[in-house]
């Protein structure tokens, strides 16, 4: 696959932005500036980045409780995201959603979701809507290894397959459903093989290799756009942080320090950095510049968020029903 340099650099930039955003969120959570629950995407950046790079602006995604990466990769505004994490009035959800409910319908982001696999039927419905409206958009539905054991997974894949809907089900297998290892929660080792139960296409990719994810994404998105139905992609990756920020005291109850460190060595960003340098796509100076630009963008987002007022208490009563 021949990709131009600009595109490769954009992939890198997106992954690094996700990483730095999450590190910033981690810091803000530790200092209790972010009040709510936080599920960080660090280590899994290649999945959202590779997948969303194959999508158009008018395509849809549905996301999970670990959703910041998906949102950034689909073009989400980091200032509005940060303001939302801080519970501010100008946040994506006006302070009503927080980390787990960020959505931007204009960018096709149908929402992060606090319920495991809940985005799967919603994605199917968006794909049904595309088909009924006669459009050539597609939907990418992110979920985890844990989500693949929900009834919603099976109901959705069956219906999407039955109606040949333009939806790509992207399993981010980060190997743990909170604390339960996939080998202890899943009856099969390779989740993508569940494609066979629904007679749909599917594949497994190295979820720490952004180019591999992109390649698989491109093929499946093209297929969905041609009206050839849904796909199940499994991206094998790893969650560096705990299920949520705040479980540090129990980190090593279900996995070892050694295992975590081995996966940190397989960092998707470092790995792609090497590819870019080896192929002469960018120089070390170029990489440093990207880092600086991202730091500067994040700084601006932080300033926006922190200068943004909190909502008024009575704003809690707004936005429930649409009224003309």
């Amino acid at each position: 696959m021949q990709l131009n340099n600009e595109f490769m650099i954009q992939l890198y930039r997106t992954m690094l932005m996700i990483r730095r955003f999450e590190e910033k969120a981690l810091d803000l959570k530790a200092r209790q500036i972010i009040p709510g629950l936080l599920h960080l995407y660090i280590g899994e950046e290649a999945v959202a980045t590779g997948m969303c790079a194959a999508l158009r602006r008018d395509d849809y995604i549905s996301s999970t409780h670990r959703g910041h990466g998906h949102c950034i990769a689909k073009g989400g505004d980091i200032s509005l995201m940060m303001a939302e994490l801080l519970g501010r009035e100008k946040g994506y959800c006006r302070g009503k959603g927080g980390s787990m409910h960020i959505a931007d319908i204009d960018l096709g982001i149908l929402g992060a979701n606090g319920v495991v696999a809940a985005g799967m039927p919603i994605s199917g419905g968006a794909a049904l809507s595309i088909k009924m409206r006669g459009k050539d958009q597609v939907v990418a539905c992110f979920f985890g290894d844990g989500g693949s054991n929900q009834g919603a997974f099976h109901e959705s894949l069956n219906m999407a397959a039955l109606w040949k809907l333009p939806v790509i089900y992207v399993c981010e297998n980060n190997q743990y459903a909170i604390s339960v290892a996939q080998s202890r929660s899943c009856s099969i080792r390779d989740i993508y093989l569940r494609k066979d139960a629904y007679e749909i296409e599917g594949c497994m990719v190295d979820g720490n290799d952004v180019l591999a994810v992109y390649q698989a994404a491109k093929e499946t998105v093209d297929r969905a756009r041609r009206g050839e139905g849904p796909t199940l992609i499994e991206c094998k990756t790893y969650r560096w942080r705990g299920h949520y920020e705040g479980e540090a005291d129990r980190t090593y109850t279900y996995r070892t320090k050694q295992e975590i460190e081995e996966w940190i060595d397989r960092c998707p960003i470092k790995r792609f950095q090497k590819v870019l340098l080896d192929q002469g796509v960018v120089s070390q100076v170029g990489l440093n510049q990207i880092e600086q630009e991202i730091q500067s963008d994040l700084q601006k987002a932080m300033e926006f968020a922190q200068n943004c007022p909190f909502p008024e208490p009575q704003d809690a009563l707004k936005d429930l029903y649409y009224e003309e």
């Binding site: 319908i105 219906m159 429930l320």
Partner: protein, 325 residues
């Protein structure tokens, strides 16, 4: 005026709205060539075909989730769940997603979604096909709850539901499907949140909805022969709720009985009783009463089922005991 059945009224409403707006479509189990189990009319499917009258697998959670995904991306789905007992299989999507996405996303999306479902009972269908779960959904902010009793109300309210940009749960009583009533040929809509005084009276207010309205009316007509004038209020929608109509009637009569087919404890009657106790205590000349099903699962045998669910006689007895206090 012509008379049509409740089920014909529902089909007319769907047909008119589907002709009016091509974004409206129906999905659910057996909605197509089988014509929906209780409606028993395949006219919709004959006119609009498999695409817009879409049979689904038996996957209630996905039916609602797919409907939601379609609703937030430009369609106006009507999702049919055969029995309200089966809403339990879709509670995740209904309660966590459908009701909350607009609010959670800061009011930035609309959810034009109708969930039609049937209420059971008095058909010897036992505990899993006879429930009345409307109170559960009235407890979830973000869902509008509609529960009509006549063909006229069913048609006007369903058309309003389909044009609403918010999620609506529409309860259709299975026993009402063949019942007939006057419905004009010309188009009309009925706004939500307006109770209907189905009978005027001065001695006692009886608040009800769905099938029980008819049983209350029968009891009221019987008691009229004994000189007791019962005011019968049909709520028609539980959310929004016409509190004004409730309090106005209690102001007039001073006595209140609430009748529903759902079991009594935690039923919607408790909410009405609380509203009147909080806002109209001084209007009352007698304690508020509730008459619902007895607090057991609905049993199978006719003898047992009739004992558990309110009927005209029990309603009349209760009214009599309240007015003679």
């Amino acid at each position: 005026m012509r008379e049509i059945s409740f089920s014909t009224a529902l089909v007319e409403a769907l047909k008119e709205e589907m002709r009016r707006d091509e974004r409206v479509f129906v999905l659910g189990e057996d909605v197509g060539r089988f014509g929906m189990i209780y409606v028993a009319k395949p006219e919709l499917w004959k006119e609009f075909g498999d695409d817009r009258v879409r049979d689904t697998p038996i996957s209630e959670n996905a039916i609602i989730g797919f409907a939601l995904g379609a609703a937030i991306t430009g369609m106006r789905p009507v999702a049919d769940i055969m029995f309200c007992d089966l809403l339990t299989l879709a509670m995740e999507q209904i309660v966590n997603q459908v009701a909350k996405v607009r609010y959670m996303f800061g009011g930035k999306i609309k959810v034009p979604l109708v969930i039609c479902t049937s209420l059971g009972g008095l058909r010897f269908a036992a505990a899993q096909h006879s429930q009345h779960l409307e109170a559960w959904f009235s407890h979830v902010p973000g869902l509008k709850v509609v529960i009509p009793s006549t063909p006229y109300d069913a048609k006007g309210l369903l058309k309003t539901a389909i044009r609403d940009d918010n999620p609506v749960i529409f309860f259709e009583h299975q026993q009402l499907m063949p019942t007939t009533g006057p419905v004009p040929e010309e188009e009309y809509l009925i706004p939500f949140g307006k109770a209907d005084i189905k009978r005027e009276g001065k001695d006692i207010t009886v608040i009800s909805y769905s099938l029980m309205v008819h049983k209350v009316l029968k009891a009221a007509n019987e008691l009229a022969q004994q000189g007791i004038e019962t005011e019968v209020i049909d709520l028609r929608t539980l959310n929004p709720l016409d509190k004004e109509a409730i309090l106005k009637s209690v102001e007039k009569t001073g006595r209140l009985l609430i009748v529903h087919q759902a079991c009594t404890t935690g039923g919607f009657g408790a909410e009405i009783a609380a509203i009147v106790a909080e806002n109209g205590f001084d209007l009352l000349t007698a304690p508020i009463h509730r008459l619902g099903a007895l607090d057991v699962p609905v049993p199978y045998s006719p003898v047992l089922e009739n004992f558990v669910i309110p009927n005209e006689q029990k309603i009349a007895e209760r009214i009599l005991s309240i007015v003679s206090q």
